[in-house]
């Protein structure tokens, strides 16, 4: 058993109510269709909600520090993965390679030749070719 029996049930109901208010904001905010508002209300609030659940429901603040370090390390690894893979995944060409299928799909999308229905172009991700071939 752990060390947080001092909280009454009402404390957790209150946290749940706060989470629902944040959920409502994160749902309504993006309807304004302003990019920075969407970023803050949808993703910023997601981080706040996750923090509230981790601290108040999972009681991560009451676990030994090495547990927090372990969880944080996995998050850092995730960011490293993103930083390592993004330059390849998110670009259509590099110094010695190019993704012709992606460039063609991008052109078709810009020209309105493909739509965003169920079956659209895939932008040729993962179909890179060495430049000059």
């Amino acid at each position: 058993m752990s060390e947080h029996a001092e909280h009454g049930d009402s404390h957790y109901v209150k946290i749940w109510a706060y989470l629902l208010v944040l959920l409502a904001i994160s749902f309504v905010g993006p309807m304004l269709e302003i990019q920075w508002v969407t970023l803050i209300t949808a993703f910023g609030i997601a981080v706040v909600k996750a923090y509230m659940v981790a601290v108040n429901f999972m009681h991560i603040n009451l676990t030994p520090r090495f547990v927090i370090y372990t969880v944080t390390t996995t998050l850092v690894f995730m960011l490293l993965f993103f930083a390592g893979a993004a330059p390849d995944v998110m670009k259509s060409s590099g110094t010695n390679w190019v993704k012709p299928a992606w460039i063609e799909a991008e052109r078709a999308y810009e020209a309105g030749e493909v739509g965003g229905g169920a079956h659209g172009a895939d932008h040729g991700e993962g179909h890179g070719e060495a430049a000059g071939h």
Partner: protein
């Protein structure tokens, strides 16, 4: 001699072994979900057309499922509180309510997927839908696993036995909730 393995009862690391184990599971799960969501974000940012695909998802369904999971998390933490007070029967009942939340979540998801699949938005339609079904599908498998384990935990808790397990399954369930908190804006909100 007790049949219980010695590792179950010791807390050499300053934390009960079961609780430490579930945190290790969560750490490894972060890498699994982080990899999928990180890859999704990369592609989403790189391909403008993905916003058009995402416009086909129903935000009201995402909202409903987020509400259901947050509420089930409340029941899970209240079950933990009941277990702390030694009230196994109340803990078990609250765990059953948590499971009910999980079942409702899966029903809503089943309805949503059947609609999408019947309209041609299948896992093989394009990479966006592959990511969509993979991320939400892995998450749904975790919901199913959590519900099954929770039913076993509730059975013993009802008899006022092994009440520490209520906290352990609760931590796992809250993590499943946290994952959905990030899936919700990624798949349903950011159009």
């Amino acid at each position: 001699m007790s049949a219980r393995p010695i590792a179950t009862t010791r807390s050499a690391a300053g934390i009960p072994t079961q609780r430490l184990a579930v945190w290790w599971i969560i750490a490894s799960e972060i890498v699994i979900f982080g990899g999928v969501l990180g890859s999704y974000i990369m592609h989403r940012l790189a391909h403008g057309i993905w916003a058009d695909y995402a416009a086909n998802t129903n935000p009201w369904i995402g909202l409903t499922n987020t509400f259901i999971l947050l509420t089930s998390s409340l029941f899970a933490v209240l079950a933990h509180q009941a277990a702390e007070r030694g009230d196994g029967k109340r803990a078990a009942n609250l765990l059953y309510l948590t499971c009910l939340g999980g079942a409702m979540f899966l029903c809503v998801k089943g309805y949503e997927w059947s609609y999408e699949i019947s309209h041609g938005m299948t896992i093989t339609a394009n990479t966006f839908w592959s990511f969509y079904y993979t991320a939400a599908g892995i998450h749904a498998l975790h919901v199913i696993a959590g519900c099954i384990i929770m039913l076993f935990v509730a059975e013993t808790a009802k008899k006022n036995l092994e009440l520490h397990r209520v906290e352990i399954i609760g931590i796992y369930w809250h993590f499943v909730d946290v994952v959905w908190i990030f899936l919700f804006p990624l798949l349903y909100i950011a159009k």
